[in-house]
């Protein structure tokens, strides 16, 4: 029996090693970019930070007009006020940067805990450690605060590292699997819309390319603005959007900051490495 257990454990470890040997984030990134460069010839890498406005001329004209008076500005100011309120805590948690200019490095794999740390997660952890009430994950105050903090990273290239650690590789593979898995009653994956059909239309909307998606989050959406209230009403985090996308294909969404969405964010952000942060973005 003991021999059998040892043999099975060895086989399991071997299986794990084989699975991880197949994981090659750098190669994935190369192929991912190459696909979009072929699909949208002549569109430079940094244009993908602008979502559909980088690949659709008529929508770009509309967006440029919107950006003359960006609707998110009062919300970013509200985010800055919140930042100032908590900055003494952030100095303790984030060191000298106090949380400014760090967006491009999130999410990251924490080798100590084996967990993926998102910026939203790090902020709420910091608030809790300092006796403050954590903020709601998907919208409102936290989204506005992150919008401000992300804006201090504008121009800095996304730089996500997937170390050669089986735990980090497992997070990456989980996110990649979510991204390419068809789900929900409509049987559609993230990739079906944002890779295969990027630039195409779904009803009156243009489907954005997945490359560069994360560079402009949190985003300020006109749809959310209409439903929300106050100057921060239009903001939403990446995980809010993930939930919305899952619902749109009639899949039960996961909770914001769940392991599933943290893994997806890790993979999704890695795929945009090298693209400069351009937050917050305005979207429909």
């Amino acid at each position: 029996m003991k021999k059998f257990i040892i043999a099975m454990t060895a086989l399991g470890l071997l299986g794990g090693a084989v699975a991880h040997a197949k994981t090659n984030p750098a190669q994935d990134l190369k192929e991912f970019r190459a696909y979009f460069f072929k699909k949208f010839p002549g569109v430079p890498l940094q244009e993908y930070a602008n979502g559909i406005y980088g690949v659709n001329e008529s929508r770009r004209v509309e967006w440029e007009a919107t950006m003359e008076f960006p609707p998110f500005e009062p919300g970013v100011d509200a985010g800055q006020d919140l930042y100032n309120k908590y900055s003494k805590h952030f100095r303790k948690c984030f060191g000298n940067s106090a949380g400014k200019g760090i967006r491009q490095n999130y999410p990251y794999f924490d080798s100590k805990s084996g967990d993926i740390v998102t910026l939203e997660g790090a902020i709420n952890d910091c608030l809790k450690k300092n006796g403050e009430k954590p903020l709601g994950w998907k919208k409102g105050k936290l989204a506005a605060l992150v919008a401000y903090m992300a804006s201090t990273s504008n121009g800095k290239a996304i730089n996500i590292n997937v170390p050669n650690d089986k735990r980090a590789l497992a997070w990456y593979e989980r996110g990649k699997h979510h991204f390419y898995s068809k789900r929900g009653q409509l049987n559609l994956s993230c990739a079906n819309c944002h890779v295969d059909s990027a630039g195409g239309q779904i009803r009156a909307n243009i489907l954005s390319p997945a490359l560069g998606h994360v560079s402009h989050f949190p985003v300020y959406r006109k749809k959310w603005e209409a439903r929300g209230s106050g100057v921060t009403g239009g903001f939403g985090t990446l995980h809010r959007r993930y939930g919305g996308c899952n619902k749109q294909v009639r899949a039960k969404p996961f909770k914001a900051q769940s392991d599933e969405y943290k893994a997806l964010e890790y993979f999704h952000t890695y795929m945009s490495n090298g693209i400069k942060v351009n937050a917050p973005g305005v979207r429909q």
């Binding site: 994935d28 192929e31 991912f32 190459a34 696909y35 990649k176 699997h177 979510h178 390419y180 898995s181 068809k182 789900r183 929900g184 009653q185 049987n187 994956s189 990739a191 890779v195 295969d196 899952n246 619902k247 009639r250 899949a251 039960k252 969404p253 996961f254 599933e260």
Partner: protein, 98 residues
């Protein structure tokens, strides 16, 4: 005339049997099965959006005595749970097509 009366009476009996729908005892296990199928789909990370609502509505309909509606919703939710599990298995090796 007698034949017509017999036919009308038998039609009425048949109609009332249809209107009464399935019994509570018939619906309850289908609701339980729908719950189990969707719990399994959820565990696999592939539960569909509306199945949970359907089960709740089926339970409410059963409570109100509308067993036909309860059965219809429970079967739909049960089907969705089964389909979601098939989907999860089919997507086990999902990856890029390029």
């Amino acid at each position: 005339m007698k034949k017509i009366a017999i036919l009308a009476a038998s039609s009425l009996i048949a109609l009332s049997a249809c209107a009464s729908g399935p019994s509570k005892e018939e619906v309850t296990p289908v609701i339980e099965s729908a719950k189990a199928e969707n719990a399994a789909a959820k565990k696999m990370g592939f539960m569909w959006r509306d199945a949970g609502k359907m089960i709740k509505k089926a339970e409410a309909a059963l409570k109100e005595g509308d067993t036909a509606q309860a059965m219809k919703l429970a079967k739909k939710a049960e089907f969705q749970g089964k389909m979601a599990q098939i989907q999860a298995k089919e997507q086990a090796n999902a990856g890029p097509a390029f």
